[in-house]
């Protein structure tokens, strides 16, 4: 199962990941539209991003969330009714919303941020 593996100890808070994520998917550098978030924490940084656990799949009332062949949890926007149950039920609060966007969004383990991170705090891994 493909996922974005994080190494917060390496993170220096550059936030290049947030910018590249928002740019890749929404053509903006607004960190609120990034599926990965760097959070200032005591003594360093935390990285919040989907770990592809798939709990959102079960709670979706319209079967809009599914796991693709690589094991990545995806949202079918055509089926999605924008109810955001998946947002409230995400165990890591990694399903994101933005007032401009009708459907929620999440990390799809594309790897754009991995290349952008100067500190090598991110990698695409299997589990």
């Amino acid at each position: 199962m493909k996922y974005l593996k994080t190494n917060p100890a390496q993170c220096k808070g550059v936030r290049a990941c947030e910018k590249i994520c928002a740019r890749t998917f929404f053509k903006t550098e607004d960190p609120e539209k990034s599926a990965i978030r760097v959070i200032q924490a005591e003594g360093g940084f935390e990285i919040n991003v989907c770990n592809q656990c798939g709990e959102c799949i079960e709670v979706c009332p319209v079967e809009a969330i599914y796991r693709n062949q690589q094991g990545v949890v995806m949202i079918n926007k055509s089926k999605c009714v924008g109810c955001y149950i998946c947002v409230g039920y995400c165990p890591t609060l990694s399903m994101k919303t933005h007032p401009d966007l009708r459907e929620p969004f999440k990390c799809v383990a594309c790897g754009a941020c991995v290349k952008a991170c100067p500190e090598k705090a991110l990698e695409i891994a299997e589990k």
Partner: protein, 871 residues
Amino acid sequence: MTYNRNFEYTRYLDNVEEMKKAHQVLAEYKFTPSHPEKGYCNRLLHIDLSARKISERKIDQKTKDIFTGGRGFGLKYLWEAIKPNTRWSDPENAIIISPGPIGGITQYPGSGKSLVVSLSPVTNIPIDSNVGGYFGPLMKFSGFDALMVQGKSKDDVIVVLDGVAGRVTIERAPLEAVDSHVAAEQFTHEYAENQEDRRNVSVVSAGKAAEHALIGCLNFSYYDVRRQACRLKQAGRGGIGTVFRNKKIKALIVHGPKVKGDSNHPVDPGRVAQAGIRLHKEMHDYDNKMCTMRKVGTTNIVDVMDAYDLLPTKNFQYGSHPETPKIGKKVWEEYFTQGVPDGCWYGCSMSCAHGVDGYVLKTGPYKGHKVIVDGPEYENAAGLGSNCGIFDPDWIVECNFYCDTYGIDTISYGTLCAFVMECYDRGILNQERTGGLDLSWGNGQAQLEMLHQMARGEGFGAQYAGQGVARMKLMFAQNGWGDPQFLNDIACEGKGLEQSEYMSKESLAQQGGYYLTNKGPQHDEAWLIFMDMVNNQIPTFENKAEALYYFPMFRTWFGLNGLCKLPWNDIEPGDNRSKYPPTEAAKVPEHVQNYVDIFSGVTGREITKEELIRMSERVYQFQRVFDLRMGKGTRKFDLPPYRAMGPVTKEEYESRQERYDKQLKEWMDIDPATRSIEEKIALHRKYRTERYQKLVDAVYKRRGWTSNGIPTLETLRRNGIDFPEVVATVLPHLSEGEAREARAAYSTGGSDRPKVGKPKASPNKPKAKAVKKKTSARKPAGKVKTKKKVAATKTASRTIKTAKRTKANTPRKPAPRKISKSVKVKPSSRKPSHKKPGRKGPARRTETKRAGKRSSAKTSRKVARKVVGRR
């Protein structure tokens, strides 16, 4: 997680294509589909079945300002449709379905409700029923805030609203079934373009028994994508299904557009979403520790009610039973399929619409069929179960299924079944009188057979039981079966409606919560048993009256907006009980704020918590006057049967002897040892009856009603509902002073229709002057348009004409508002009182902490809560 799932059902689709081919279009109407803007489409779809005419009407801003939507719209349009002498089966009686402005948002749990209003066959006053399923929202996303059906068809017809094609038709559909579980499936498959499209179809239907009984319900369907089956939710109370079948409607079908997160076009989607996400998170974090709605729905309180001696048992005689665990929460957890999203509209993370999947029926015309049973809810487990002495979950499930598919209200059926079983137990009924039915306590088979009789239109079931408790008690007395006084005491109905399934005997406030209601004893207005009886938080009459003002007003708001009550207080913020004093915590202030946010976010009309209550009160007071208009709505109709107030029989007294004896000492200063049980029962009866009357006095005062339960002129004005017809309705019941004032202010001149009197300045009455100033700039209300209205106000006009001759120097009051062309109401400067009913010690204690940012999965969710569920 994987659960055992049995999603195989008997299907009824063999000849669906032929069935559809057999349809014959009788009338057609083309319209331009539109999405709502800010929650409203501003259009009403009107169907006249007699004339086979389809039309639409504009809903203006003033109507929205006063009636908001949902139940408010239903009552407004019903008032205009019927006359004071209309009866439920008259063609002019209407069925109005409206979801309200919030209805249809997908982000906040419980936001897809439709409100159905009609003149009730059981009460002959307006009934309103709140129902899930997709019909209301899909109708709104097709272009209509409300659907109003009037007239009567000669043969069975269906009405099809296609919100994609912009077409409404009345069709003859001879081959489809009437019973709802079959009809919903057949029509859904006929009108969906493909499998994916099935979720965009919803069917309203009522079954065979609704043709023969007065307690018919409506089933609103939705297509469950995981089960690939139709589910049914019920507009249960008050017999609207009976009106539906009497009009010869087989089904109302909507085929709407694809639903998206912004289909309701809110002004501020972000604000709505944030409120929704907050609640989803609470559900995730606390539901397992609070009410376990996601696992067992409302059945979570069966055991709680039993523990507090509140579970209605054997026709509300007793409050608990040793066999309750057989129909308790744990059993339902096993019966219900777990781990499936079970919301009756998108976005409901409360997910309480559980079902028993693959249940094999044991009786009746569908014997052997594998079905999904929607429910049981708590009301069914208690009403069909314990209240009838039935503690076998299979019988409850079976009866639940047949009530639904036959179109019978499970609450009324449970209560009437309990009533006839007690009559049987006490020899008022016997097998000869029941036509062979052995209605002994606990006989589930007989309970089912009586229901099948209703569906077949034969036997005791149709002739007696289907008429409801209020009529049965009269029929039994007429037949010389039983003592009329005793029958009256044990028949748990008010205004003609069967009481829902809670014991109110030991809670005075709940007696008011049931019997000081607009539509009859249904718990959706106020559920105060815990505040009152268990926690003693509202000890004085004034405290109880305040609760019986605030909660009915607050809860009315759900019905104006297309909302479900459950997400309000069947889940709470984790710190609700520690953050707020008990009486405030009972209101769940942060959830009330959510409602303020979503209403403002949807409509763009910024409201406050206080305005929310005022919105409700306008409609609530209007409904009270509507009751009066239809011949009820006065004090004598607000009295409970004694069974709801205290022990009627020796056995009931003995079951709680210690409690009752203690009360004799404490309340009446009487030594119980010196009295016989009969004397003690009589003493209690006198005390409790008088106590109830004192409560009535306090509640009427708080609600702004006269001692006979009539909203005063001041109350009507304060709420902006002093329309001529409304004033005319209360006029004969007002005090002399108010009546004089009303006649002067609302005089008509020589015409037989009411006209607006110009306000006249009165130096002695600065208050009146102030109001006058505010309204003088308004355009006077226009002339009454319809003949119906003329007829409805004739009586008033006569009174007013007489009044004019004698009015002399009486100062005139501001122009009244008409219902159809109402003037915008400015928020009243008078603030309603929101005294906090004093109370202590919550039922729940909650201590919880959500682990920081949940950065490392589930383990971070630490929750520790103790809970007592409640309605």
